[in-house]
Structures are given as structure tokens and as C-alpha cells.
């Protein structure tokens, strides 16, 4: 194995690692509302979501092309750049997951790659117009569109069923929620798995394995589908809790309305090749479902915290990507890439260890919201 093959293997492994973090970071987008309303038990929810992400990843590859060719000049992208970009994105994803902030995995990825590209080749290697038109504008608009649709949907379903007794209504909407949550999971697979496929394709183009403008080979599609699905199954309980319990106290009709809005917006934009952030859409929808219901409490301060994190995602992931590039490039060659790979592994282990004490698990994910992602320990627990 030559040095370059080793580097390519590390890049592919890191990209699949990113795909995995993307999966668990975003489980909540599809399943948070179903978990908190009791429509699905937590472990069942993540399993269903994992399977549908797997299926969704094979359905459409429109978005993969955007990442691979639309954002940076692939002539200036080397394997080290891709590696550094991925390192930046994974670190930002882990940090936000630890804090329970549903930030956009897509923005982390794009930010990391763009940041590393700027560090390597300067600002002229970035297709700024592509970045604004395909990433920033949709990101700014999508939460409002999804939120408005979810608010209208929530208003309508409560209005239509206002004479239906509480019991049958909740029961009916819980069944509906299962369907709509499945659609969001499928949509997530069609949209987010594509992004890693795009990055691996970019790496293969940078390595000369594929010619510029090539589409993702089947092994890339399959491995990305499996990685995102495994990540989804692990379940990002911190983010699930923040989305499902933190923003709005969600009832089944709101859950169904918000998930339908998310699914409709994500699927239709995937069809137009828009690389939307599932997270922005899902968060917007959940907020919309709080706005659309009379007297629902929306915790706007938590929403503000999330939006602040969104604004930081592109530049912060970009900065980390650039730093990783400078380190890798400073050491040089294969050794540089191996170094940042090792640092990334150590950092991931550290985040994982920190998240265990105290942990958010399927058992306590639905505990009452007391102002923090990690639930307060139960006071009336009987010592055993």
C-alpha cells in the first residue's frame, strides 16, 4: 500500500465516520416528536428510522452532485483538504451533539470542506455563488417555510378535530405520526446520506481515481447508506431530548403536523437538488407546531440558542477545517494526515466519555424538561 492509498483509505474512513455522526446527530429530526408523544417507544423509533435512512440513501442521488461539483473548485481539492474538512465537521458535530444543540450536519460538512479549501488554495477556489445560492439562501429560508407550513397544518388539525374526544384524537394522531415520522426518516436518507457520498466522490476525484464530474460508484452509495443508518440506530438522545422536550411541549396532533411539514419540504427540495439542512427544517417545523396551537408554550430562548449555533456552524466548522489543514500541511504528507486522524479519534473518544456522565438514554429521554439537556436525577428515587 503506497502512502497515497493509505491517505485515501483514511479519508474514506473519516468520511464514513462523519456520516455516522450525521446519523445520530439527526435522529431527533425525524423521531423526536414521536418519541415524546409516545407514538413510538424510543428504541423502536431509532430502529425504524435507521432502516428508512438506509432505504432512503438508495432512492435519490441528486444532492450528491451538488456537493461534489457545485461548491468548491475540485481542481484545488487535495486529499489532505478533504481530510481536514471532514475533521472540522466531525469536531463541530460532536461538540454540538454534546451540548444538545440540533445544528446542521450539512453545514458542518460544507463549512469544514470550504474552510480547508480556503486554507489550502485561497478564497478563489470556493464557488461563492454556488455556496450562497445552494446553501446559505435555502438555509435561511427553509426554517421559515417549514415553520409556516407546520403552523398552518397544526392550526387546521386542531380546528378540524376540535369536537373529537381527546382519547381517540390522540390515538389517531399517534398512528398518523408514525407514518409522518417514517417519511422524515426516508427524506433524511435521501438528503443527508448523499452529502457524504458527495465528499467521498470528491476525494476519489482528487485522488485521480475518478474523473471530474463522475457520479458516486455503488460501493460509495452502499457504505454511506450503512454508516448513516448505524449512526441513526445509536440515536443522539441529547438532541432528541432538546428537540422533543426543549422547544415545545408537543402533543400528537402537533407532532404529526410538524413531521408532515418537514417531510414535504425535505422531499420536495431533494427532488430539486437543494441540499437543505434537515435540522433547520425539522426545528422550524417543531417551532411552527407550537405557534399554530393556541396557548402552546414555545421556549423561544432555547430556539434562539439553537439559531445562534446555526449561524456559527459554517464559520466554526470552517475554522476547524482550516486549522486541521494547517496542522496536516505543516507536518506534511502522509504523516500529517495520520496525525489529524489520530487527534480526531482521541477527541471523539473524549466527547463520548464526557457524554456518559451523566448520560441521556432511551430511559430518561422523556423526563420533564427542567431547563437542561441532561435530565435532573429523580429526587424520589428509592434507594435499592
Amino acid at each position: 500500500m503506497t502512502g497515497n492509498d493509505l491517505v485515501l483509505a483514511l479519508v474514506v474512513a473519516t468520511a464514513l465516520g462523519f456520516d455516522f455522526t450525521n446519523g445520530f446527530h439527526d435522529t431527533g429530526n425525524a423521531m423526536a416528536t414521536s418519541i415524546v408523544t409516545g407514538a413510538l417507544r424510543p428504541r423502536v423509533a431509532v430502529a425504524v428510522s435507521a432502516v428508512l435512512n438506509l432505504v432512503g440513501a438508495f432512492l435519490s442521488t441528486a444532492v450528491a452532485a451538488t456537493i461534489a461539483s457545485g461548491l468548491v473548485d475540485s481542481g484545488d481539492v487535495t486529499l489532505t483538504v478533504v481530510m481536514a474538512g471532514l475533521t472540522g465537521s466531525i469536531l463541530w458535530n460532536l461538540a454540538t451533539w454534546y451540548l444538545g444543540i440540533p445544528s446542521s450536519s450539512s453545514h458542518a460538512l460544507i463549512g469544514g470542506v470550504v474552510g480547508a479549501t480556503i486554507a489550502a488554495a485561497g478564497g478563489s477556489a470556493v464557488k461563492w455563488q454556488g455556496l450562497v445560492a445552494k446553501v446559505i439562501v435555502p438555509a435561511a429560508l427553509s426554517p421559515f417555510i417549514a415553520g409556516a407550513i407546520a403552523a398552518l397544518g397544526t392550526f387546521l388539525v386542531y380546528r378540524i378535530t376540535r369536537r373529537v374526544a381527546e382519547g381517540p384524537r390522540s390515538h389517531g394522531f399517534r398512528i398518523g405520526q408514525v407514518g409522518s415520522a417514517c417519511m422524515v426518516s426516508l427524506a433524511h436518507g435521501t438528503n443527508d446520506a448523499q452529502k457524504t457520498m458527495g465528499v467521498i466522490t470528491l476525494a476519489l476525484i482528487a485522488n485521480g481515481t475518478l474523473h471530474a464530474g463522475a457520479t458516486s460508484p455503488p460501493w460509495v452509495i452502499t457504505s454511506c447508506a450503512v454508516a448513516i443508518s448505524l449512526g441513526t440506530y445509536i440515536g443522539g438522545w441529547r438532541v432528541i431530548r432538546a428537540l422533543g422536550k426543549g422547544l415545545v411541549e408537543i402533543e400528537a396532533p402537533q407532532g404529526m403536523a410538524s413531521e408532515s411539514a418537514s417531510a414535504a419540504v425535505i422531499l420536495s427540495s431533494t427532488d430539486f437538488g437543494y441540499s437543505l439542512s434537515t435540522t433547520h427544517v425539522a426545528t422550524g417545523s417543531i417551532l411552527g407546531s407550537g405557534v399554530g396551537k393556541k396557548d402552546a408554550e414555545v421556549r423561544w430562548h432555547i430556539a434562539r440558542r439553537m439559531v445562534t449555533a446555526w449561524l456559527f456552524t459554517l464559520p466554526a466548522a470552517g475554522l476547524m477545517g482550516a486549522l486541521a489543514y494547517w496542522v496536516a500541511n505543516g507536518i506534511g504528507g502522509t504523516a500529517g494526515v495520520v496525525t489529524i486522524f489520530v487527534v480526531l479519534i482521541l477527541a471523539s473518544v473524549a466527547f463520548f466519555a464526557a457524554s456518559r456522565h451523566p448520560a441521556v438514554t432511551p430511559e430518561n429521554v422523556n423526563a420533564a424538561w427542567t431547563g437542561s439537556v441532561v435530565p435532573a436525577p429523580e429526587q424520589d428515587e428509592v434507594a435499592s
Binding site: 455563488q129 407546520a150 387546521l156 378535530t161 384524537r169 435521501t190 403536523a257 420536495s268
Partner: protein, 81 residues
Amino acid sequence: MNSWINLDALWRIIVVGLLAGAGLPALFAVGLLALAPQPRPDAPGTDRPTAGVLGYAVAGLCFAVVLAAIGWGIAVIVNHS
């Protein structure tokens, strides 16, 4: 079409989003309403009320349309790529 913002795709997303994202849950809600027993002020305390044949028919139709719309949506995504 503007090169910085794809207005053509945007309005399609809004229209499809409204129809599928708000319309389908509303239709589902109509189905639930149809399934719910109608209150009968003339005969309180009689047998447990049911939705009746018409109710079941309307509900079935609503749910069928919702399912068909979802199936059609998936088919569009698959064929488009």
C-alpha cells in the same frame, strides 16, 4: 431565473410543501373526525354511538388519499433521480 436564488424551485417547494405538509395532515384530521361518533342529543345514554356507514366511508376515503399521495411522492423522488 436569478442565479443567486432559485425562485422557480422555491415556489414549487412552497406549493408542494403546503399541499403535502399541511393539506395531508388536515385530510387525515377530517378522516379522524369522520370516524368519531356523532353526538346524539335526541337519544342520550343509548348504545355506544359509532361513526356510521357514511363516517367510515369518508374516513376510508381520506386515509386512502393520504396513503396514495405519499406513494405518489415517493414514486416521483425515485423516478426523478
